[in-house]
């Protein structure tokens, strides 16, 4: 049964993507490249291996990576171990010795592999068929996918840490699907490392000796190059990747409580109650709703592409882009009207009613309609939109309060009297005006970071780096409001978890708003008093 | 050395030759070793003095932990007191300390006992617990219990051994190099014995009141060494006068 399972698992991915690939004109086989289509400068700072000599991203010269990054960003940072030279084993291609030694050195790994489809790629008719497809495509015979096939760099005669590119040699359709995440831009998995390295506070933290404090960020954002984030090594099970638990290690917590909101929603509760009846060995495209799955999983909704097809990435259908990007469809009073300002690592404002998004909405409805009526699903999704409009309006109001306070000169301590914005000496050198936006670029150039930065996305630095009086309490209140509570409310509403929507979302948002109001009033009062005393 | 590798196990001819060579090598090395050892010349001691003394441990028994719960599933352990640290309640005399003269270069004749000293195993403990012998002495290790024991030593210079034995087995082993050797049984971990091999005949093991006696020492000043398994080493300089008995006291402080 297990083998059938594994077979089915592998096939799931294959099936969907093969179906997709079939309609494409036959591509000339180029070696899989995770950075396909990116400009040269991008490759130079993300792909080219520098070991642990320097960091990655535009600020690479300002920090050295933490050592663990070599496992998390293998293309850029991996260095083979120096203690035991493995070159002899690779040179002589002694596959047997890998297992002989590691069966004892790391027995869990070997047992995992033994129970995987890699060890027995032809153990079931189904698996054999999938393997045959790979064999045909790659023009090789696969009776066993061995340690050696993925871990041996035969050109350099050293051990390599496999990235998606290695997996892509055989699992090309899945790899190409994953690569398509770039089409929709951040937030996505393949560019997740950018979120750490393009923002200036990361390099600034490193410069101040707090790099290992960023461990929590690095660990999740290492999903950019690797497949074992969802299909954990060394079993690489497709069935595992289809379970909601595959997502929740990263998708949880204050900024995106996906685990909590899905898990406690009716969808999630039914999943937990009837987990043993779910057939995760079926490819997503062959799942019969109500029979194989009684409720949807993360993957079932998010990896549904359109028209009955599934795609091997979960970002294609996203409309609200994790809730951080303000919609075009609102009138803003604060500087949110000029969004995006600052570093453009995230897309422009979203037009919820653009042609593309209306189409995406209909794809969502296709999924929902497996169980829900079209009208119910449409109404639910529209209520989500309304929630988001409300939440963004509230955030806009809050930002306006903070910005007015600053404009009137009541921020205390003032921007001139506190530590400058993180890495402000480096930002204008490393980033172009086009990337930053002309006004921000000029501000960095002339004021050297001694100016307040509020709101999405650069204003969130206070959650990642603490400096003398920077940011102040009121700025961080606003960060919590838009970055935590707004997003919690969003996830609660989107995943149909009422408590998360209200008590983690809307309610704390309002309370934070009140706090911002009173903090602003207090600062203004103190400022006025001070002025009055000084003028006397 | 020429050796032949057989696919399976032993190729006797080659082994024979290798042992011939091995033996020759052994001769060479043992000759070298004899010369390298600390010289001890045997002389006739006419006006030798004696040293008697008492080794004491001033301290609390609780200072050295006794793990009463160890091996709790084996019923006989609770009856068997640990022999690690035994001292007299009356005069604090420490049992089973080995007293020897460290730097003596000449003295009485080494007399290797023709009747082999015995270490017996009864009720899963070794009797005696500590034995001091002269290099070249053979010890007989007896097995007086009904159960199975293994006799396991961990020496480096003297060839170690680890032999499984049962009732009435007798093992004879010769010890050629000065070394302190722990003898234990892996099945009864709380029991062990110590074999202290010394290369001069001036030594004694203290009795249950901590007394020892070393006789016929050529007059002079010597460094006396006391060794105890739990308390370690203690050194004392003693001057021996001709035909006199010197009385000394060695005290392990409590720490």
């Amino acid at each position: 049964m297990k083998k059938v399972g594994i077979g089915l698992c592998l096939s799931a991915m294959l099936f969907t993507s093969v179906a997709w690939a079939a309609e494409q004109p036959l591509k000339k086989e180029t070696p899989p490249d995770l950075y396909e289509g990116t400009p040269d400068w991008y490759r130079a700072v993300y792909k080219d291996n520098v070991g642990l000599r320097e960091g990655s991203g535009p600020f690479k010269d300002y920090f050295k990576p933490q050592m663990l990054d070599m496992y998390w960003q293998p293309n850029r940072h991996y260095e083979p171990m120096k203690n035991l030279d493995h070159s002899l084993f690779i040179e002589k291609e002694r596959r047997d010795l890998c297992v002989t030694c590691h069966e004892e050195a790391t027995p869990g790994v070997v047992r995992d592999w033994r129970s995987s489809g890699h060890k027995n790629p032809k153990s079931t008719p189904y698996l054999s068929a999938r393997t045959a497809e790979i064999e045909k495509r790659t023009n090789r015979v696969l009776n066993e996918v061995h340690c050696f096939d993925c871990h041996a760099d035969t050109k350099k005669n050293q051990i390599r840490m496999p990235t998606g590119e290695v997996c892509g040699e055989c699992h090309r359709p899945q790899f190409d699907d994953f690569l398509r995440e770039r089409e929709v831009g951040r937030p996505n998995h393949i560019q997740s490392w950018e979120a750490n390295t393009i923002v200036p506070w990361y390099a600034e933290a490193a410069r101040r000796g707090y790099l290992y404090g960023q461990h929590g960020c690095d660990h999740c954002h290492s999903g950019a190059e690797k497949c074992d984030v969802c299909h954990t090594r060394h079993k690489f099970s497709a069935a595992e990747g289809r379970q909601p638990e595959a997502c929740i290690t990263c998708h949880m917590g204050p900024d995106h409580p996906d685990s909590e909101s899905y898990g406690e929603s009716k969808h999630g509760v039914i999943y937990h109650q009837e987990e043993e009846h779910f057939d995760f060995n079926r490819p997503l495209s062959e799942v019969r709703p109500g029979k194989d799955y009684r409720t949807p999983t993360c993957q079932y909704c998010h990896m549904y592409e359109k028209h009955g097809r599934f795609i091997h990435n979960p970002v294609m259908k996203g409309i609200w882009r994790m809730g951080t990007v303000p919609p075009k469809n609102l009138e803003y009073t604060s500087s949110l009207k000029d969004y995006p300002y600052g570093i453009k690592i995230i897309s422009d404002k979203i037009d919820i009613y653009s042609e593309e998004n209306v189409a995406k909405r209909s794809y969502w409805l296709e999924v929902c309609a497996k169980c829900h009526s079209d009208r119910f699903a449409d109404t639910y999704l529209k209520s989500l939109d309304e929630f988001m409009f409300q939440a963004h309006t509230l955030a806009d109001k809050a930002q306006k309060i903070v910005e007015d306070l600053i404009a009137d000169g009541y921020l205390y301590p003032s921007a001139a009297d506190r530590d400058p914005y993180p890495l402000s000496d480096g930002i204008e050198k490393q980033l172009s005006p086009a990337f930053l936006g002309e006004p921000i670029y000029n501000a960095f150039k002339t004021l050297k970071g001694k100016f307040p930065v509020v709101g999405p996305i650069l204003g969130v630095y206070g959650m990642f780096l603490q400096q003398q009086d920077n940011p102040s309490n009121i700025e961080n209140m606003y960060n919590r409001l838009w970055f935590w509570y707004k997003l919690q409310g969003y996830k609660g509403t989107a995943h149909a978890q009422p408590d998360v929507s209200w008590w983690w979302g809307q309610a704390p948002m309002m309370m934070e708003f009140t706090k911002i109001q009173s903090e602003a009033a207090r600062l203004r009062r103190e400022g006025r008093l001070e002025k009055a005393i000084l003028t006397k | 050395m020429k050796i032949c590798l057989s696919e399976c196990q032993v190729m006797r001819k080659i082994i024979f030759f290798s042992f011939l060579f091995g033996f020759l090598g052994w001769c060479a090395i043992s000759l070298k070793n004899i010369s390298a050892q600390q010289q001890y010349t045997e002389i006739e001691v006419i006006d030798g003095g004696n040293v008697i003394g008492n080794v004491k441990y001033v301290g609390d028994l609780a200072a050295v932990g006794l793990d009463l719960y160890r091996d709790w599933e084996l019923s006989d352990t609770s009856k068997t007191p640990s022999e690690k640290l035994i001292f007299s309640k009356i005069n604090n005399g420490l049992k089973n300390a080995t007293v020897s003269i460290k730097d003596i270069t000449k003295g009485k004749k080494k007399r290797i006992p023709t009747i082999h000293p015995i270490i017996d195993q009864q009720n899963n403990i070794y009797i005696p617990h500590v034995i001091a012998i002269l290099t070249g002495t053979t010890i007989d290790i007896l097995h007086g219990d009904e159960g199975m024991h293994n006799i396991h030593t961990r020496s480096i210079k003297n060839q170690p051994f680890n032999l499984g034995t049962t009732y009435k087995q007798r093992i004879s082993k010769k010890f050629d190099y000065p070394e302190i050797i722990k003898l234990s049984c892996d099945l009864h971990k709380y029991a062990c014995a110590w074999i202290v091999v010394l290369d001069n005949p001036y030594f004694d093991v203290t009795d249950r009141n901590g007394y020892f006696e070393i006789c016929d020492i050529p007059p002079g000043t010597y460094r006396f060494q006391v060794w105890h398994e739990e308390l370690g080493n203690l050194e004392k300089e003693v001057t021996v006068h001709p035909k006199e008995t010197t009385s000394i006291e060695c005290v392990y402080p409590q720490n």
Partner: protein, 261 residues
Amino acid sequence: MKPKVLLDKIGLWSATTVASAALMLSVMPMTASAINVPTEVTEVGKDTYKKYCSPCHGEEGKGDGPLARSLLPKPRDFSRGAYKFRTTPSGSLPTDEDIYRTIFYGVPNSTMIPWDILTEEQRLSVIPVLKSFSEAFEVRKPDASVNVGLEIRPTERTIAEGKKIYEEKLECWKCHGVEGRGDGPSASEQEDDFGFPIKPFDFTTGKFKGGNSPTDVYLRFTTGLNGTPMPSFAKELSDEQRWYLTHYVLSLIKPEETQNK
């Protein structure tokens, strides 16, 4: 009919002869090649040791290489001259052949791989390096290899006799467990001479560390495993009894399900 049968027979026999001749030829050169163990530590030996042995066994042979900390069982500390797999009696140093054998065949159930990947010269050159780590090799010489004698064929009787020894006479089960899974009542408290906890061998795995042949297992009972609690039974058991025990222990093998796959 008859000539055809004859022809078949001739064909079969000739094929067998050719095959066995070929087999002989392929086996012969390997078994008969004489090897020279260098008596002195050579540069090749030092390099090979440093590159392939020291990561686990340590530069000084103390079993404390950089990789040692995560390994179980711990790599051998050579400083005591205690070698597990020998043909020599309990406590004796190993012969050069014994050391070479372990290097060549490795130790199953451990990270000591068969180092057949190295050249013969490299493997041999390491032997004097290993010996140089222990003063035991300066003061002692290996005893003569024990005489294995004629192997006894396993029968039901020998296995039953072995079982009696295992369960009653020697109480092997105290450490190795009644079913030979290495889980006897005294199993958890065992320590090797270096103070590391050591697991009694699980016979059911069938991957005997010193080799799987009856002779190998017999030798373990005869010579013991130096540096471990496993004693020699050369004194306690007669030659036959050790064969009985061998047969019984080999009968305990029950491979893990995954290995059947």
